[in-house]
Symmetry: C2
């Protein structure tokens, strides 16, 4: 993946790498319990944009790491993301029938299987990080386990989901909304960036700057999601348009108006780019990615 690739070339190469690695790392469908393994693959190979793995590769590249050392953390963050979608879609949670235009895991299989798919994908994410010792020292692998576990748990993604549930039909302030999103989506995005850097042998200073970048990009991602929920049609989104607004979920356009939300996204993009000023051209893909997050149409 050359530094001067366009973002489209770079992200295609990342998607190809991580999907090949996931293909290798997920248990085969001929291994028992076969139906569970099939469902785990269904949930993982679902046409996702692989934003988090792309962040791992782009951040690793910014710290001059070899792509080979980044495949495992890229798989791990995507497995955590996939598990969270499966559980979020369950009837007791968001009750979604479609995910990117295809039946959600519990619709394609059944609820019990979908619960277990999520549980097993989470275990697999941590297991993969322990098989990385031919590439990285044990201490670095353990730090990645710690980062990912913290980002996934009650003080991270799962906690943000709990805050989201508590927030439905109740007026959130802007700071409360941000705290929820920093947990719900931000923590895993931040972990993706930091794990990529860690696997590339980043310095403490680099980790700190990339942490700032990731926090801004994570929030920008959410603001743009909220904007698209209002402005896009269901076909483009691959999920039901206007669902969040209809469910009375607090959104940025709801709190700031559509123009205010767009301005907020732009400010966050500027923040993200500012965090990268000390990096050279090797951080260009991170810069492209930040712009893509704010400019994407779905």
């Amino acid at each position: 993946m050359p530094t001067n690739a366009t973002f489209s070339e770079f992200s295609k190469a990342c998607v190809s790498r991580v999907e090949q690695a996931l293909e290798q790392q997920l248990p085969g469908t001929s291994i028992e319990p076969a139906r569970l393994h099939e469902a785990m693959r269904y949930a993982t190979f679902n046409g996702g944009k692989r934003v988090r793995p792309i962040l791992v590769y782009a951040s690793g590249q910014a710290c001059r790491g070899a792509p080979e050392a980044l495949d495992i953390p890229a798989c791990a963050v995507e497995l955590i993301h996939s598990y969270s979608l499966v559980h979020d879609d369950l009837p007791a949670m968001d009750d979604d029938d479609l995910r990117r235009g295809k039946p959600t895991c519990h619709r394609a299989y059944d609820e019990a299987t979908a619960i277990l798919v999520g549980d097993a994908l989470q275990s697999l994410a941590f297991r993969l990080l322990t098989h990385h010792q031919d590439q990285l020292p044990a201490d670095t692998c353990l730090q990645m386990v710690r980062l990912l576990a913290t980002a996934s748990g009650s003080r991270g993604m799962a906690g943000g989901q709990a805050m989201d549930i508590d927030a439905v039909a109740r007026e959130l302030t802007l700071p409360e909304l941000e705290i929820m999103h920093i947990h719900k989506t931000g923590a895993l995005i931040r972990a993706s960036v930091q794990m990529g850097a860690m696997a590339a042998g980043a310095t403490e200073q680099q980790l700190l700057l990339l942490g700032h970048y990731a926090t801004a990009v994570g929030l920008a991602f959410q603001v743009q999601d909220d904007i698209l929920d209002i402005t896009s049609d269901t076909d483009t989104l691959g999920k039901t348009q206007g669902k969040d607004a209809a469910a009375n979920k607090p959104t940025y356009p709801g709190l700031l108006g559509l123009d205010g939300a767009r301005q907020k996204a732009q400010e966050l993009l500027d923040e993200a780019l500012n965090a990268l000023v000390d990096f050279g051209a090797e951080a260009d893909q991170l810069r492209h990615l930040a712009r893509y997050v704010v400019q994407r149409a779905h």
Copy 2:
């Protein structure tokens, strides 16, 4: 915990140690999201027998390890066990209202919270294992993460649960039933024994022998569970008596008859004890525990 303590004294000391450690390691209920943290504690402090932590301490003692090095693996296996109970009790799975005489997590809170409680307890288990480096080398911690992740995932506990779901209302052979239980309950019991040994600096040969012990004890535990489901009353069990038989779940008494099942439990006990012949008095608690598993009344 002196080697010559009775099993009752030893197990009381283990329960006290692990509950104090869990109390310290679980996020406080004043930390946001407060309701999720409260529910995580509800699910963990539920009057459980703490069999898996006791196995960690007993196995560590058999390898002459210090109890201080065993607290974290003891917490980790119990958190995984607690999460599995919360998800198993969900309406889409076993649909249980009571667990040890108290409302199950989704009845005391709600289904969405119960799903997140399980997810967050799993993350926390892995996170704890990374905070153990003042006691153990990073390499040992990473090996414990690998063991626990393998034991929890689709080739372990979650996989066994999937096999169990597939097996309802279908006649299993004895080998199929054993494969299911080796995954569903055996894998975590084995991981408990092996993590205790690992944290105590066991040799490869000790790990192998303790693995044999754990496999036999794990199956014995399940055979006895099936026997108790038939012979105990609901009050003693703390859950609905005869539920497995009524749900058409395959059981050992169903396949072997009650006497056959009792004989099987006895054979497994003998196997477990045989695996320990090369150990001295320091393995006595493991021996007591194997007997307790087969002789317990609930």
